[in-house]
């Protein structure tokens, strides 16, 4: 095999991690919505925050292959951290709140990771759920800090950058959420292409293999678990700030379940599954529960059955199959087919 053919194989291999032009689409869409649909900016901000949360879940389920039902624990922890910081400590600068929410999410993540990552599969699923329920009950009991079942209200955030107030028109919270999402996306895009990111995918594929080439599997799983938890904490803190309210629902099993559903809708282990699945979920919820909210769960169930039976990989999976051929690297594949013949 000559060296130029080899070089083109290596190029094709390395090209996977490069930015593609279509990756500008979500950001273009977000900008268009800002300018064309000002009436949707409040809803839009919530969609953006949820995307961050779903991304953090995709990191666990889609990339690391760790399936949990307790991911809302870190979201809720971040939300309460930001809320308590604001209400009880009087620190209401938004970015400080985000930082604290991220750290608290990460710390809760590493502590619970140390416990639950000893197990696999069903045991891990149940343990993660148990931790979430424990945390929810703890938040319920500590009502002096958390407001208990009434929720934590009375957050009033300082203006962003000391200048931009969180107004009712939703402009500031929309752009704020969009900015945070962009940073998160950039971070994940970078992280997943690093040797660490690829080794996590390797662990998802076959943990025994990764140990057999000398990787400390438990430690890497703990690292990715902590990162995912910190990002969920960040999303929770952001949600608390834009709602200026934290409730026990943010620590609920239902929320964990919703994120799973969104991932199934959008497509797992493709960052853009979160970007597609979240708005689809919100719009479907809005549309399908308009006439009769009781039927929402029925339609949602039907949708899920359809996805699992006919469209594994979600909306993105369908798109990817449609465009599959376009993703082949022309130079390398033609060179290779020559070499084979």
């Amino acid at each position: 095999m000559n060296s130029s053919l080899k070089a083109s194989i290596i190029d094709a291999h390395q090209r996977r991690d490069r930015l593609h032009p279509y990756e500008v689409l979500p950001w273009l869409t977000a900008a268009l919505i800002f300018f064309l649909f000002p009436q949707f900016l409040n809803l839009g901000a919530h969609v953006l925050v949820t995307i961050i949360f779903v991304l953090s879940m995709d990191l666990l389920i889609g990339y690391a292959g760790i399936v949990t039902l307790g991911h809302a624990a870190f979201y809720g922890a971040g939300a309460y951290a930001a809320g308590i910081l604001c209400v009880s400590a009087g620190i209401n600068e938004p970015f400080t709140g985000l930082a604290v929410g991220t750290i608290v999410g990460g710390v809760v993540g590493i502590l619970s990771g140390l416990m639950i990552l000893r197990t696999r599969g069903l045991a891990l699923l149940i343990l993660s759920l148990a931790l979430l329920l424990l945390l929810q009950e703890a938040a319920n009991q500590a009502s002096a800090w958390t407001g208990g079942a009434d929720g934590l209200s009375g957050m009033s955030m300082a203006p962003l950058f000391g200048k931009y107030r969180f107004g009712l028109d939703g402009k500031v919270i929309y752009l704020y959420s969009l900015g945070v999402l962009f940073v998160c996306w950039l971070f994940l895009r970078m992280l997943l292409a690093t040797p660490f990111g690829r080794s996590v995918v390797g662990i998802r594929e076959n943990a025994v293999r990764m140990a057999a080439i000398g990787a400390n599997v438990r430690r890497r799983e703990l690292a990715i678990f902590t990162i995912a938890a910190a990002m969920a904490g960040l999303a929770g803190a952001l949600a608390a700030q834009i709602d200026q309210f934290v409730s026990l629902n943010m620590l609920s099993f239902e929320l964990s379940g919703m994120v799973l559903v969104i991932l199934a809708l959008g497509g797992v282990s493709r960052l853009y599954g979160a970007f597609l699945g979240t708005p689809v979920f919100f719009i479907a919820q809005d549309y399908l529960s308009k006439d009769n909210p009781v039927y929402w769960n029925f339609w949602l169930g039907l949708l899920l059955v359809a996805i699992v039976l006919f469209a594994r990989g979600g909306v993105l999976g369908i798109l990817a199959r449609g465009f599959g051929r376009m993703r082949l690297q022309p130079a390398a594949s033609s060179a290779l087919s020559q070499a084979r013949s």
Partner: protein
């Protein structure tokens, strides 16, 4: 000369079943050693004990003169003890190239780096491709492992182990399921490994064993039945009775 790998009175039981029975075993630098024995003799279990995939019931294992009995599988790998599996353990959804590239990165201790390392990854991919070429796998480098026929996946399993540049290499039936043309090539390559590397191979095909091994250990019901050079093993009446007899006349 110090032994690269040694066991003293190594035992393993699964409940009442004794699968490894007081095995004393030494692998010297440059060894070309074969471990043979009938099905269920405990060969794979013995390798699992050596690597740390299983914990012994009693006895000790030392690697490069150091007691590693309580060390984990992956830390033994990092000390240079590398194995292949009787049943493939590969990253099925990833490309052949990346399977080997990740091994190179781990060997270079950069596998846990959470920062961009494009140049390092490129160099690792180049090394991986060169290795794949030596095994006739360069053409399928970009294919997902899952799309290869089983025999070629067996080859990938061996290439990944080679990429680790082991000090001690343990091969558990590497040629099982590989078509004859490929298995001859595989044994040639295994035969041409660096001279100071110690290689232990489990293999049922006696032609391959006698062509490759300078030393043979026969395991029966978990215990060492006998050990010696190929000539001694062929002539040993015990071996003929429990193993070769049933193999060559059966």
């Amino acid at each position: 000369m110090t032994a690269l790998l040694a066991t003293q009175a190594l035992c393993k039981s699964f409940g009442p079943l004794v699968v490894t029975d007081h095995v004393d075993f030494v692998l010297w630098p440059g060894a070309r050693h074969a471990l043979i024995g009938p099905n269920g003799a405990g060969k794979t279990t013995f390798v699992n004990l050596l690597t740390g995939n299983l914990r012994p019931t009693s006895g000790t294992i030392s690697l490069l003169g150091e007691d590693v009995t309580s060390l984990s599988f992956d830390s033994r790998v990092r000390k240079g003890l590398v194995r292949t599996f009787q049943i493939n353990q590969l990253l099925m959804a990833l490309s052949v190239l990346e399977n080997v590239q990740l091994a190179v990165l781990e060997r270079e201790r950069v596998g846990s780096r959470p920062l961009p390392a494009v140049a390092v990854q490129r160099r690792a991919a180049e090394e991986a491709l060169d290795l794949l070429e030596a095994f006739g796998l360069a053409e399928v480098a970009l294919d997902r492992v899952a799309t290869l026929p089983y025999g070629r996946q067996r080859l990938v399993e061996v290439v990944v182990a080679m990429a680790m540049r082991p000090k001690v290499l343990l091969l558990d039936e590497p040629a099982a399921g590989v078509p004859p043309s490929d298995s001859r090539k595989m044994m040639e390559l295994i035969g041409s490994l660096p001279g100071d590397m110690a290689v232990l191979i489990i293999e049922h095909d006696m032609d391959l064993v006698f062509r490759f091994a300078q030393e043979i250990t026969v395991l029966a019901q978990g215990a060492v039945l006998c050990q010696g050079n190929p000539g001694q093993i062929v002539d040993n009446p015990l071996v003929r009775e429990v193993y070769l007899g049933t193999q060559s006349h059966g």
